[in-house]
């Protein structure tokens, strides 16, 4: 009996389909040569690339060598039968899906089903119907398409995951570096808990002493986690540490952070924050709370003496003009304890998922604790119990600052440098001496004016221009006449003007000695301030008394300059041999 029939053509009306080019390699394993030839010809005509094997051993060999996409296997293979070959092939294929179709005689149904169950994907019984075979193969082809697509998507996903993981690690590292830069938090009177979700934090805790001896502290909660929090943390920490070390008020620090966050992070990102200043000297605590739960001031014997409620929008939302700096103030007694926490603490949820820790429970814990020193560990215990078996959804952050009983607070060394543009102007002075080499190399005027401007915002209304004019006149006098001995009468006519400056350049190159010293002292006033400017040069000076009595109203180039200075300054005095001049320039804050 012929094992199968091989009609010359397919049934009428058959649609001819071809397998996709990427999955058209088929391994045909049958011991029957006639069938092999016939099927091979048919499959080749249908678009397949056919490999043939006549026994089990050879089948496995060819499978390993050629890695076909499909396998058609006759159960009756010699040496190793179809079933064990199917097993072997599946094992060799590993993760790759290689469909295996079994062919068997009609009376081998039991065996076929057993094999199919374990490692074959489809089956055919003899006599083989070619069009049915082709239909099954093409169906498998679709499966292979899907599988290929899935594999590609998986590879892509894996790449993305790895990239994300790398980004997350960078963010964590940056965040940790930012926080660990200063040890402001490592003080005996500060205890804190930082329990971020999944290792990357969106909460930030900062503390630093101000020159006044006050302690500044801040808790911040960024929208989201990971990269956006890390990116925001950098400038925020910089601003906090920089400004608190210089004694700015927390209102100013908050305003600056607000500006920076708004400028850097995209809209929709903000920082809920609470800043406090605890001043043992003034016995006061100031707070700015924008978006965090109530900060609680605990007093032994009294319970919660003060709560600092969020009255502001979080940082990064309002533009600078609308930003509100107002602070809450309360008395601060020795032994008080301030607690600040993010909403992750309040919302931490237990296994039953219905109840969260809650504000009330937290306050109860604080108020009912017999030993004030035991409040912090008790809250920690509560958190652990509540989050046990539950999933932590948000970063949990808690800080306790204990106001020490003694007043020997740490005062850092004085920091010279840039003061606030917005504080009331304190007194300051500067003293700069430029020797010949420096005079050659640099024009100090813009630097001086900028320096004064940075130290003291004398702002608009022409104040800065007036300062420049006065400084320029005095400095150039000192340099041109005092050191370089140039005659400024040359500047009267255009030709002379150019020659003057040529000569000036020449003389400046030539000198090896000499100096100009500029001293500026500032005193504040209710409407602005006064700048006492002194310029002293190493030259021989000029006969100032004689000069003025001679010239009177006559305006020589030199005199014109001095007349201008006289008109702008309250006082003008030439001292010594005329190589010293002292003026007082008043400035006023322009009324808007």
């Amino acid at each position: 009996m012929q094992p199968f029939s091989c009609p010359p053509s397919g049934a009428p009306g058959t649609v001819v389909l071809r397998p996709s080019a990427s999955h058209c390699r088929i391994l045909l394993a049958t011991p029957f040569q006639g069938i092999a030839d016939c099927l091979a010809a048919f499959l080749t005509a249908s678009g397949y690339l056919v490999f043939c094997a006549a026994d089990g051993h050879r089948t496995v060999e060819i499978f390993q060598a050629e890695k076909p996409d499909l396998v058609l296997l006759d159960l009756k293979l010699p040496i190793a039968d179809g079933c064990s070959v199917a097993h072997h092939i599946k094992y060799l294929a590993g993760d790759r899906f290689v469909p295996v179709l079994l062919v068997s005689a009609a009376d081998e149904k039991e065996r076929l089903i057993h094999c199919q169950h374990n490692c074959a994907d489809d089956f055919l019984t003899e006599p083989l119907d070619r069009s049915l075979l082709l239909a099954k193969l093409l169906a498998l082809d679709r499966v292979l398409e899907i599988q290929a697509r899935l594999a590609a998507q998986n590879a892509e996903l894996l790449r993305h995951q790895e990239q994300q993981q790398r980004d997350r690690e960078i963010a964590e590292r940056v965040f940790a570096n930012v926080l660990s830069r200063r040890s402001g938090l490592d003080q005996p009177n500060i205890r804190y808990l930082l329990a971020p979700v999944a290792g990357y934090n969106g909460d930030i805790l900062l503390a630093e002493h101000a020159p006044s001896g006050s302690l500044y502290a801040m808790l911040g909660d960024f929208t989201g986690h990971g990269l956006s929090a890390a990116i925001g943390a950098l400038p925020v920490a910089d601003i906090f540490y920089g400004m608190s070390a210089k004694g700015f008020s927390i209102a100013d620090i908050a305003a600056e952070m607000n500006r920076k966050i708004r400028a850097i992070l995209p809209p929709g990102f903000f920082l809920a924050a609470c800043l406090v200043e605890m001043s043992p000297v003034n016995q006061a605590i100031h707070a700015w709370n924008g978006g965090l739960p109530d900060a609680l001031l605990y007093r032994p014997g009294q319970g919660i003496a003060q709560r600092f409620i969020s009255r502001h929008l979080p940082l990064g939302i309002l533009d600078d003009k609308k930003f509100v700096r107002s602070l809450e103030v309360a008395a601060l007694s020795p032994d008080d304890r301030l607690f600040m926490y993010s909403d992750g603490l309040i919302e931490c949820r237990g296994a039953d998922c219905r109840e969260m820790y809650g504000q009330e429970r937290l306050e109860q814990r604080i108020v009912t604790c017999e030993d004030p020193g035991g409040i912090f560990p008790a809250i920690l215990g509560d958190t652990r119990r509540f989050c046990e078996n539950g999933s932590q959804e948000d970063d949990i952050t808690l800080i306790e600052i204990h106001q020490p009983r003694y007043t020997s607070v740490k005062v850092p060394p004085p920091v010279s440098g840039i003061l606030s543009k917005t504080l009331r102007p304190p007194n300051w002075g500067l003293d700069i001496t430029l020797h010949a080499a420096a005079l050659r190399a640099t024009d100090p005027l813009p630097v001086l004016v900028r320096l004064v401007q940075d130290l003291q915002d004398i702002g608009q209304g022409g104040n800065r221009e007036r300062l420049y004019l006065v400084l320029a006149e005095l400095f150039n006098n000192a340099l041109d006449h005092g050191l370089l001995h140039l005659d400024s009468k040359l500047k009267n006519d255009p030709e002379g003007f150019c020659r003057f400056y040529e000569m000036r350049r020449g003389e400046l190159e030539r000198i090896s000695e000499g100096w100009v010293r500029v001293q500026i002292e500032h005193s504040p006033s209710s409407s602005g301030g006064s700048l006492h400017i002194r310029v002293h040069d190493s030259g021989t000076g000029f006969q100032h008394a004689a000069y003025f009595s001679q010239n009177g109203n006559e305006l020589a180039a030199h005199g014109r300059g001095i007349a201008l200075v006289r008109s702008l300054c309250r006082k003008v005095n030439f001292l010594g041999a005329g190589n010293r001049v002292s003026v007082v320039l008043d400035w006023e804050t322009p009324s808007t």
Partner: protein, 107 residues
């Protein structure tokens, strides 16, 4: 829409096209981002007014607050007409702590 099927973010425009009402069901968090934006972009920016119906909103996190800020930007910033209505006590509390009543009309 089938009975019982709740779309997390559902939007509708008034007949005159001037008011967009967005209803948020369940959790209003980072996963709602794309739907929420599609919803408010149905409006004409500052020329429309927006009503966010929170009657079925169970939970809101900080990224949801961020999305509200984006909506406010889209709706004209300071000139924006955005109302948050039917807030349950938890949602109201979150909005209160964030002082969002300074930016939105909340009821």
């Amino acid at each position: 829409m089938e009975a019982g099927q709740i779309m997390p973010v559902a939007a509708e425009i008034s007949q005159d096209g001037r008011t967009v009402t967005i209803r948020i069901s369940g959790r209003f968090d980072f996963s709602s981002q794309r739907e929420f934006r599609k919803a408010y972009e149905l409006g004409r920016g500052p020329d429309s007014s927006y009503v966010i119906d929170m009657s079925h909103t169970e939970y809101m996190d900080s990224s949801a607050l961020g999305m509200l800020l984006l909506l406010r930007d889209f709706a004209g910033g300071d000139r924006a007409g955005v109302r948050l209505v039917h807030c349950n006590p938890q949602i109201a509390q979150i909005l209160k702590i964030a002082n969002f009543s300074q930016l939105f009309d909340i009821s």
